[in-house]
Amino acid sequence: MSEAITTINDKSVRLGLPVATPNVDIVGRQHEMNKILAAWMCRGADMALSPLLVGAPGVGKNRIVYACSRLCANVLYIFQGHEDITAEDLICSIRISDDRKKQMDYTLSSLVSAMIKGGICFIDEIGKIRPRALAPLASLLDERRYLDSTLLGERIYAHSAFRLVAATNVSDLERSRLPDFILSRLRPVITIGYPDRKEIDAIINNHFAQKIDYGLSALLDLFWDLWRDSCPEHPPTPRDSLQIFGYARKLADFEAADSGQPLRLEGQANGDVFTKEHLIRAFTTFHDFPAGGEA
């Protein structure tokens, strides 16, 4: 997944691709977005800060970042964190070249691609990356603003427009705390809390109002009652809510499908009969599994 080729001190390298962010409206979260944008602003000698978003899975951390990148009109590169990432994966990797004249291709990670292009890099699930793999970030996140790549044998400086934001789940942070040298550089630490009922209702309304022929407010009341009874540990996240309502609608579509005809998996839509029974069934199915678990 690489695009243009660029050179670093005569070394030809492939750049990672930016992400085409989905152009969907975000409900609420204005203050959180302002915090991220405020961290990225720099006046005079001030350095842009690299915020860390902390929140439960499904509360909408990624969406907030997408919205911020759209507001800045800047390209977004996403680096997906996981346990197997090594320090060098953060910067550059090599693969056997498709070009017969060359033996190897250097492929820059999304982080370094954003650094070179002056884009925004979003390190998702940074809490899952092992501490020793995060070590190269130290020089990037302070006033040095560069990364050293052993594989390339080069020092790569960040473009002045480069901005970084990272996100992690609360549970990852509780299980294995980020090392202090990273945590002290990832500031501000912005907590993305659970949205309130008004926001959840608005999200459901945006997604399903046209597609449900049953009183939506009655369904929402039922949904909140079910949630309170089965999961008092935390309120629903937008992801939980959308998945449950979405599945309820699919159940309605499935029931409405003509049993004499082959089932079409796409374009099958008859949500007119979406009732509270569908919602209860969807809810029960989802709550066989622990809610609020990992994404």
Partner: protein, 748 residues
């Protein structure tokens, strides 16, 4: 002198209006300037309050004006509300049908959640609010004051959040309000607002006929619509009710504690002394203090305190770092944030939020302390008033302390002028604690830090017992991790890869929800018990839990006057004059014991009253006869016939939800009877070793103190001398309690 108000001519009469953002000094100042100007001085004052509420406020301000030059900060009126928004009519009917109960019989929490009903609302007498300033001036100068709003109305809470650009001191009010009021009018109004605006417009017309020159101040969002109604010929003048005085039950006078008060005092409390000076001088042109320089002083003082030699030494001891770089980072972020939130000068909420996100927690406390360093009104100054303060749970809950005791109340959420100020919990706790000093002791309760430690350790044990054998092979990279993986290394060599593999422990595949499902947890601290050891239990009385029950009928049926047992142990009791201490050889913990009473009740309801033993007698002693009978009835097992270690596990089995966790010394084996019982009940027993915990923690877990408590709600607090006697701060271990426990049921 130029008029600060918006002037509207209606026939021969003149209406001077100050459309205001509530609690912002800029608008109180505008009201004051209009009133003291000889040229523009109005003949009467009208405010956006109900007639009786306005009369109650005026009456109290008149009494205060006799004794105090400045308005004491902060006082407030708690006003009863009886109305539910009309839009909730169908929902209310449905709720009554479903529950077969009248709305008046329903629990306050349900009414709040489902119908947005709050039994009370708070009206703070903030010296920086334009309405209060208008009434103050009217009272002192003998002008008639009228409340032209409806006395009672129910907000449906569907209004958009207005993001106003905050005014800059020196900016003309006309220019600001013209732009901002037009913007505010574009936003959705609540259903009650239309009726209120109509009433205000028609009553104002009457007052204009009567007095000819009236000053009116109201919320910025209402003004454009009221203006249109005033100019509409079909809106006829309506009589302004003459207040007969509110009954004391409808309108209570209270002191508003600092942690709540800061929401209603302009940018920060430090502006008030200077504002009172300006008021007292009664000079139109006297400038207000520059809030920017006040903020700089506050920040400077906080930095000085934080980076002082003592401060640094203390933080170094706590392992926290502090560098001057932090100041640059914090200041830059705060300025950018203020710019994006449309604040010419950051207020206390923004400054604390920026500090919380960029600095050490210690700095947040220092900064909050400096912001709140203010001569607040003391309970002794107003002995007849209750004391209203914030709640640790946050949200719309407040704590009201009166002579009758302490209660948590729900008050209609007050929209502060800016964002809500999040006061550090330490400061709220300190405030609540200061009120407890004179309250009597409530009896002996388990030591909360121990409850926190046993809860956090139990959750750790649940995770450890499920990840015990989860290792994976990884290629060696500087560290040998959990040792050499011989099999993987041999396989690698057989494939001629010649790589060395080590064993890495994977992160537990356990979610927060699972952790709570992993209870009960059985702890066995030693192989051999002392010969004095016997069965002991701890209890929670239904008296403390019942107020929090959502379904009180069910609570009464299932718990009644019985007690819930959170812990059963095997050990002995040591007692001295001051407190008692249980020394356990082993124990069963049925659920997180550091829950608040509200959370305990929620846990009971959430688990259908099935996950904790309910003791059927009134016996507070350590005996467990009731529990033994339960075990005999349910499992047909006589506990006395078993070893105490197996007995603990048997006590836990009937209350497990598919799994049970046992923490024991190395080599601890379950006997066949217990395994057979677990199989019969379809319960998996997960075992883990005490070696996952430090020796110090294990010793601490085996020793539970009971101490006299000064307050129970929202959390147990103890006297200072208890801390000294135990040698541990009552805030100890607060940070190790996982979020799924602290947040359990705490969402609105």
């Amino acid at each position: 002198m130029k008029n600060d108000a918006v002037v509207l001519k209606i026939g021969p009469a003149i209406l001077q209006v100050v459309p205001a953002i509530h609690y912002r000094l800029f608008f109180a100042r505008a009201v004051h300037r209009v009133c003291i100007s000889s040229k523009h001085r109005p003949a009467a004052i009208a405010v956006e309050l109900g007639p009786e509420t306005a009369a109650s406020v005026a009456l109290w301000i008149r009494e205060l004006a006799c004794q105090h030059k400045a308005l004491p900060v902060l006082l407030g009126l708690l006003i009863k509300n009886r109305l539910i928004p009309a839009g909730f009519r169908d929902r209310a009917e449905c709720l009554q049908k479903q529950s077969c109960r009248d709305l008046s019989e329903m629990d306050g929490d349900i009414l709040r959640e489902r119908l947005n009903f709050y039994p009370e609302r708070l009206l703070p007498l903030s010296p920086t609010d334009s309405i209060i300033e208008a009434i103050r001036f009217a009272v002192v100068n003998g002008l008639p004051v009228y409340g032209v709003d409806l006395e009672e109305s129910a907000d449906d809470d569907d209004q958009d959040e207005h993001v106003f650009q905050q005014p800059v001191y020196g900016q003309p009010l006309n220019a600001f309000s013209g732009e901002a009021a037009g913007y505010a009018a574009l936003h959705a109004h609540g259903e009650a607002d239309h009726r209120r605006e109509y009433a205000m417009a028609s009553r104002l017309k009457t007052l204009l006929d009567r007095h000819g020159n009236v000053l009116f101040t109201c919320g910025l969002a209402h003004w454009k619509r009221i203006e249109a109604l005033l100019q509409h010929p079909d809106v006829r003048p309506a009589p302004v009710p003459v207040p007969v005085g509110r009954s004391s039950t409808d309108c209570r006078r209270e002191i508003v504690g600092p942690s709540l008060a800061v929401r209603f005092l302009d940018l920060f409390p430090a502006v008030i002394p200077s504002w009172e000076k300006v008021r007292a001088a009664r000079r139109c042109k006297m400038p207000l203090p520059d809030p920017n320089s006040l903020l700089e002083k506050i920040l400077g003082k906080s930095f000085q305190k934080f980076f002082s030699r003592d401060g640094i030494r203390q933080r170094s001891a706590e392992g926290q770092t502090a560098s001057p770089d932090m100041i640059r980072r914090f200041s830059g972020y705060l300025n950018s944030l203020a710019l994006l939130e449309h604040y010419p000068v950051p207020d206390m909420a923004l400054a604390l939020s920026a500090a919380r996100e960029t600095m050490d927690p210690a700095f947040v406390n220092t900064l909050a302390g400096v912001f709140m360093d203010f001569p607040w009104v003391k309970p002794a100054d107003f002995p007849d008033c209750g004391y209203l303060t914030g709640s640790l749970g946050g949200g719309d809950r407040m704590t009201l302390v009166t002579d009758a005791g302490k209660e948590e109340i729900s008050v209609r959420p007050l929209k502060p002028a800016g964002q809500d100020v999040l006061i550090p919990e330490e400061i709220i706790e300190k405030e609540i604690r200061s009120l407890n000093r004179h309250t009597s002791l409530l009896g002996d309760f388990s030591w909360l830090p121990w409850d926190r430690l046993i809860t956090a350790s139990s959750i750790k044990a649940i995770a450890a017992s499920r990840q015990g054998s989860q290792h994976r092979a990884v290629i060696i990279d500087n560290s040998i991790l959990d040792g050499l993986d011989v099999k993987a290394t041999l396989r690698s060599h057989s494939r001629c890869e010649n790589k060395i593999y080590v064993r890495e422990r994977t992160i537990a595949d356990i979610t927060p929800g699972d952790s709570l499902h992993g209870f009960p947890v059985v702890w066995i601290f030693t192989d051999t018990a002392d010969h004095d050891d016997s069965w002991r239990k701890q209890v929670f009385t239904s008296r403390h839990l019942r107020p929090h029950a959502r379904n009180k009928r069910r609570f009464d049926r299932l718990l009644g006057n019985s007690h819930m047992i959170p812990i059963v142990g095997y050990g002995r009791r040591a007692k001295d004059e001051r407190m008692t201490c249980d020394l356990f050889s082993g124990l069963v913990i049925y659920h997180p014991t550091c829950f608040t009473n509200r959370q305990h009740t929620l846990w009971l309801e959430h688990t259908g009253y099935r996950r904790a033993p309910i003791c059927p007698d009134d016996d507070f002693s350590g005996e467990v006869d009731g529990l033994k009978a339960i075990i005999r009835d349910r499992l047909g097992v006589n506990i006395e016939a078993h070893d105490w270690k197996m007995g603990l596990i048997i006590y836990a089995l009937p209350f497990a939800d598919g799994s049970l966790t046992v923490v024991g010394p190395d080599g601890f084996q379950l006997d066949e009877t217990v395994l057979g019982l677990a199989r019969r009940l379809n319960i998996t027993i997960h075992q883990t070793s005490l070696n996952h915990f430090s020796i110090g923690d294990c010793q601490r877990l085996a020793r539970c103190h009971f101490a006299p408590c000064t307050t129970l709600e929202p959390v147990c607090r103890y006297a200072k001398d208890v801390e000294q006697a135990i040698g541990e701060s009552q805030d100890a271990y607060a940070r190790i309690v996982p979020r799924q426990v602290t947040d359990f049921g705490m969402w609105p």
